[in-house]
């Protein structure tokens, strides 16, 4: 009985260790993808969006009320 319980908890522990390692590896890949240099097209896009905002909606800026 005690042996059986030990085996069960050992298996559960080993499974959670596998899970942890899977997560670690996913995290490693994700973080490295996330910290890769962002192509210029995105900063260009943000600049264009900003410029379009400033060009068209001067009146909508004051949204805080008074």
């Amino acid at each position: 009985m005690t042996d059986k319980m030990n085996t069960h908890s050992k298996i559960a522990k080993e499974q959670s260790e596998v899970d942890r390692q899977i997560d670690d590896n996913l995290k490693l890949v994700f973080d490295q993808l996330a910290s890769a240099p962002v192509p210029d097209r995105f900063s260009d896009l943000l600049n264009k969006l900003r410029a379009a905002d400033e060009g068209t909606s001067q009146k909508g800026d004051d949204t805080n009320g008074s």
Partner: protein, 180 residues
């Protein structure tokens, strides 16, 4: 502070999440671009002080699934961001081949993959992931568990085996598919 100014800080993680959904870096960047435009024009629906990354990921995945549904009958163009570059890794007896990890990851369902990436890699709580995916917390938990179980099974990974992924291999994955 204008929340629009914060968008730039999330571009990296948006790209990583998009790549995990599309598994193709060119498609992923197109997806990020589209989501970014949506985020910009709907910035009013972002609650200041709330989790911007979760908000952006929600937009990203909604955009992905609406495009994906349109393209469902087309041939999938997957270059396996997570699998590419892993082939250089030599197989070790009794050790997981890293190539298999990437290939197994690519074989998960979209739902399992995104749940695993959000919770396992992105550090989202189950609650945040559930909200991002528009499903119940229990659904996310079961997707995460099934995703992990499938990975373990597909890789023939015995419990207790090490999943060995070195920095150099990971660097290979990234350099293989990311724009330099």
């Amino acid at each position: 502070m204008d929340p629009k100014d914060e968008l730039v800080e999330h571009l990296g993680s948006m790209r990583a999440f998009a790549m995990s959904l599309c598994r193709n870096s060119a498609t992923a960047d197109d997806l990020v671009q589209e989501a970014l435009i949506k985020a910009w024009s709907n910035i009013g629906s972002f609650e200041p002080g709330s989790n911007m990354r979760a908000w952006l990921f929600t937009i990203l995945r909604n955009t992905y699934y609406s495009l994906h549904r349109k393209r469902k009958n087309e041939v999938e163009d997957i270059d396996g961001v997570y699998a590419e570059g892993l082939a250089q890794k030599p197989d070790h007896d009794g050790r997981l081949a890293m190539r298999d990890f990437g290939m197994a990851f690519d074989k998960l369902t979209d739902e399992q993959r995104e749940a695993l990436v959000l919770v396992g890699a992105g550090g989202f709580s189950y609650e945040e992931a559930a909200e991002t995916c528009g499903v119940a917390i229990g659904t996310i938990k079961s997707r995460v568990n099934r995703g992990r179980a499938h990975l373990t099974e597909m890789m023939g990974l015995d419990k207790g085996d090490a999943v060995e992924l070195t920095d150099s291999v990971t660097a290979g994955i990234v350099s293989a598919r990311s724009a330099a």
